[in-house]
């Protein structure tokens, strides 16, 4: 009989321990879901929640302060998101908060981000509606990327047309680069210029020996000679 009592005590301990484990597990799970403890409710209206789900975290200053409790459509383009926020953080929840839907990492869950607003704003009441900003979705980014790439495409198209023209020898640049006749012309031009300057030299020579300008050149030479002598004298 004594042994049987001991066995019953052991059995009791066994049952109590396992039930305690279960209850504490349930408690921790419920705590995460904000089922226990006092909370208050905040509402935000969005045009698009881009995949936000019930149970996603609400984050303020990088800390999880609550969870998304309910999401439903109330009009064609309005989604009502209700979230419950831990009472512990209530004193930081001002009316000037802005809610946006963000993502937890590139592949992570969606989260509701609360951005702080004016410091002096009044505290949120239960069921208050806070302002929202449309999140930058991947679609928006892709739209921008598309515009940029369209521009790039038209630029490269223009470039292609220009190079085509150049290759065909059209336009100044094309003539300059591709036209042999043009190159020959330039060659001729330079030969002509050279010949011209030779002729000019001869002309000048002839002029300097001519009767009218002889005196001018002589005087100029003399002046130069004098200056040279002066310089050598000073050096000495």
């Amino acid at each position: 009989m004594k042994k049987s009592t001991g066995d019953k005590v052991k059995l009791g301990i066994f049952i109590v321990v396992s039930l305690m484990l279960f209850i504490s597990g349930v408690y921790f799970l419920g705590k995460k879901q904000q089922l226990f403890g006092s909370t208050f409710r905040v509402v935000a209206l969005f045009k698009d929640v881009s995949g936000l789900q019930i149970g996603n975290n609400v984050r303020f200053a990088g800390i999880n302060v609550g969870v998304v409790k309910n999401i439903y459509l109330i009009a064609d383009s309005t989604v009502r998101v209700e979230m419950v926020i831990n009472d512990m953080n209530r004193k930081f929840m001002k009316k000037s908060l802005t809610a946006i839907v963000g993502a937890d990492g590139l592949m992570g869950n969606k989260i509701m981000l609360l951005l702080p607003g004016v410091y002096t704003a009044a505290l949120l009441e239960n069921n208050d509606v806070i302002t929202t900003a449309q999140p930058i979705g991947l679609d928006d980014i892709l739209k921008k990327v598309k515009i940029t790439s369209d521009n790039a495409a038209s630029i490269t198209g223009d470039l292609a047309a220009i190079t085509k023209n150049v290759r065909e020898g059209k336009g100044t640049l094309g003539k300059f680069i591709m036209d042999d006749k043009f190159a020959d012309n330039i060659d001729h031009t330079f030969t002509n210029i050279k010949r011209g300057t030779d002729g000019f030299n001869n002309n000048m020579d002839a002029v300097s020996h001519s009767f009218f300008l002889k005196r001018f050149f002589k005087r100029k030479n003399k002046k130069a000679l004098k200056a040279k002598l002066k310089v050598t004298k000073i050096e000495e």
Binding site: K8, S18, G25, G30, K31, K32, Q33
Partner: protein, 254 residues
């Protein structure tokens, strides 16, 4: 061929009648509470060391085995959550139930069969005790109530094994580990997994009792019924598990 099918169908019908009888007897007095407590002790408490060892090793091994694949995705920080979900949803209940079928199922099968072949059951009936109530109902109720508790404990020990496994190659603090676990596990992971363990316990015990109760004469009969208790008990776990996953999927998939 026809004979095999016939005997199978006959067996099924007998088992069905046996289950019906259980439900008739379980709600009518008198209740053998002290015998129930004794059975709970032998079935539940004494199975705990076995369940704990298995759970610990499963948690540890599952963590170590999953690490390379998770590392490939650079997601080793998800290891606690992933292992916790698989232990709580599937590994914990099924492994514990299989161990339970091996230990308790064979025990019940052999015990009842030897009682049967040594005519103790008949003697009990003569002495005025309802042997079905005293032997079968207490054991089945005990197993049905004890297996869920064992699964809870086994899950807890398995998660501790996972904690050890995570810390063999990485470093995750005790707090962070449990935080990660509770971050990912939700109620719809816990409750269906727990509810099915009641059915596991019930089916293991009722099949073992049926096999023992209907044992053929002779010592051969004892061995045969112990053997088939374990085989059909384990098989029933998988069948119930398959049904349970379908039902869970139907109701709890977001």
């Amino acid at each position: 061929m026809v004979a095999v099918v016939n005997s199978f169908l006959e067996e099924l019908a007998n088992l069905y009648l046996f289950v019906i009888r259980f439900f008739k007897e379980v709600f009518t007095p008198r209740y053998e509470l002290s015998e129930l407590a004794k059975q709970c002790f032998t079935i539940g408490y004494k199975s705990f060391p076995l369940v704990a060892i298995t759970g610990f090793i499963m948690g540890l091994v599952l963590t170590i085995q999953s690490r390379p694949t998770m590392a490939e995705f650079g997601a080793t920080s998800w290891l606690p959550a992933m292992v916790a979900v698989s232990i709580i949803r599937e590994i914990g209940p099924v492994i514990t139930a299989l161990i339970f079928a091996g230990k308790v199922g064979s025990g019940i099968g052999a015990e009842l069969a030897s009682m049967k072949v040594t005519e103790q059951i008949d003697a009990m009936e003569v002495s005025g005790t309802n042997p079905y109530k005293y032997i079968v109902v207490t054991r089945v109720v005990a197993a049905t109530l004890m297996l869920p508790l064992l699964v809870i404990l086994g899950d807890a020990v398995g998660l501790y094994g996972a904690y050890v496994g995570v810390n063999i190659k990485g470093e995750v603090s005790w707090t962070l580990f449990w935080y990660n676990v509770f971050q990912k596990v939700v109620f719809s992971d816990v409750f269906p997994a727990l509810v099915k363990t009641f059915f596991f316990g019930f089916s293991i015990a009722i099949i073992s009792c049926y096999k023992g109760y209907s044992a053929n004469s002779g010592t051969e009969g004892v061995g045969a019924s112990a053997n088939s208790s374990v085989v059909f008990g384990s098989l029933s776990i998988f069948v119930i598990d398959m049904l349970a996953v379908q039902i869970t999927d139907l109701f709890f998939t977001p």
